[in-house]
C-alpha cells in the first residue's frame, strides 16, 4: 500500500484548510488516548477567535482532567474550587460586564459537587456561558460513578453497572437548566464524530453570541469520550458514546434565544 509522505506540507499548489490546533493552544496536553475533552477545548478556543473576543474573555476552570488545560489555553483563567465555577464566574461577570466569561466543568464538577451553582446561575440569568464536559464518570480519579453516569454503565463504584435501585437515575443537567427562565441558550452536543464536533462548535458559538447580546445564561453540555473510564478501547469510544450516553442525553438545542 502506498503511503503518502505527510512529514511536510505539499509541494504542489495547495491551501491549508485546517491547522493542527488553534493558536490559543500553547502546548501539549497529557490526557489519555481517545479522550474527547481536548476536542471540546479546541472548538471552544476556535469560537473565541472567530468571535474576536480573545482579549476580553475570562475562563473559570473546575476540577477534572480538563483542569490541566489551564496550562495550555492562552486565555485569562481562574482555576476554581470543585463545583464552584458558576459562582466564581458570576462574581467575575458582575464586576467585568464587558468581558465574555465562561466556565469549563466536568459532570463530576457540575452535576455532583456543584449542581446548585449552575442551576442558580442559570435562574439568575447570569450572562455567562457554562460548558459541561460530560463523560459520565470521574475521569481524573480513575472512573467512578457520577450523577451523570447512565444506567447500566460500569464504573469503579458501580461494578455491575449503574442500577437505579442502588444508585438512582442520572441527572440530565442541560434539561434541568433548560427548564429555568433565566437560561437563554441551552444545547447538548458531542465530540464523537466530525459532524457532531462541527455541530458542537456551532452551539458554542451561539452560546457566546447569546452572552454577548446580554440575553441571559447559556450552557452547552458536550458529551465527551472517556475510554479509560469506560474501560473500552480508545477507538471504541465514539461508538460507546453513541450507544449509551447519546441514548440518555439526546443531542440538540433545548433552549434558543432569538435575536
Amino acid at each position: 500500500m502506498t503511503v503518502i509522505d505527510t512529514s511536510q506540507p505539499p509541494s504542489e499548489p495547495a491551501r491549508k484548510v485546517a491547522d493542527f490546533r488553534p493558536s490559543l493552544l500553547l502546548g501539549e496536553h497529557s490526557l489519555c488516548p481517545g479522550c474527547g475533552e481536548p476536542v471540546a477545548l479546541r472548538v471552544l478556543l476556535e469560537v473565541l477567535q472567530e468571535l474576536d473576543i480573545v482579549q476580553r474573555t475570562i475562563g473559570v476552570v473546575g476540577h477534572g482532567c480538563y483542569g490541566s488545560f489551564v496550562r495550555i489555553m492562552d486565555v485569562d483563567v481562574l482555576q476554581c474550587l470543585h463545583g464552584r465555577a458558576p459562582a466564581c464566574a458570576t462574581g467575575i461577570k458582575r464586576v467585568r460586564p464587558d468581558c465574555a466569561v465562561f466556565t469549563m466543568q466536568g459532570d463530576g464538577d457540575m452535576a455532583n459537587e456543584g449542581l446548585q451553582e449552575v442551576l442558580h446561575a442559570a435562574a439568575r440569568g447570569e450572562k455567562i456561558t457554562c460548558v459541561l464536559l460530560n463523560n459520565g464518570v470521574f475521569g481524573d480519579t480513575g472512573g467512578q460513578l457520577t450523577a451523570a453516569t447512565v444506567l447500566g454503565q460500569r464504573t469503579k463504584t458501580s461494578l455491575e453497572g449503574r442500577d437505579a435501585e442502588t444508585h438512582g437515575y442520572p441527572i440530565p443537567v442541560a434539561d434541568l437548566v433548560a427548564g429555568l427562565r433565566g437560561a437563554a441558550y441551552v444545547a447538548r452536543g458531542a465530540v464523537s464524530t466530525a459532524g457532531a464536533v462541527a455541530q458542537t462548535k456551532r452551539m458554542l458559538r451561539r452560546a457566546f453570541e447569546t452572552q454577548l447580546a446580554g440575553a441571559g445564561f447559556s450552557l452547552v453540555e458536550i458529551l465527551t469520550m472517556c475510554p479509560t473510564g469506560w474501560f473500552v478501547p480508545a477507538s471504541e469510544g465514539p461508538g460507546y458514546l453513541g450507544d449509551s450516553m447519546e441514548q440518555a442525553y439526546p443531542l440538540g438545542e433545548l433552549t434558543t434565544w432569538r435575536h
Binding site: 503518502i4 505527510t6 476536542v39
Partner: protein, 89 residues
C-alpha cells in the same frame, strides 16, 4: 497529487501533514475519515504508539482534524486537483 505507483490510481484532492510524534494512537481518525484513506502504522512513534498514515484518496475534508484529541493533523486542499465548481469548504 495522485498515486503513481502500485494498485488502482486514486486521485487525491487533499493531503495532510501528520505530526506523528504527537499521536497517542487512539485511532479515532481511522473511523472518522469518510474516504477511509488513513491506516495505522506498523511502526511506533517515539512515545511508543502506532500512528495514522495517509494513503491516496484524501479529500481534504478535515474530519480527521476535527476528531483528533491530540492535534496531529494539518489539512491541505490541493489547488490543481480542485475541479471547477467544487469549492466546498
Amino acid at each position: 497529487m495522485s498515486e503513481h505507483e502500485g494498485g488502482a490510481r486514486r486521485s487525491s484532492r487533499g493531503t495532510l501533514v501528520i505530526a506523528e510524534d504527537r499521536c497517542k494512537g487512539c485511532e479515532l481518525c481511522i473511523d472518522a475519515c469518510p474516504p477511509r484513506v488513513l491506516v495505522m502504522s506498523s511502526e511506533l512513534n517515539e512515545m511508543g504508539y502506532r500512528y495514522p498514515e495517509l494513503t491516496p484518496g484524501c479529500t481534504g475534508c478535515t474530519a480527521c482534524q476535527m476528531v483528533c484529541p491530540d492535534f496531529v493533523f494539518s489539512v491541505y486542499r490541493l489547488t490543481a486537483a480542485t475541479a471547477p465548481g467544487d469549492r466546498r469548504g
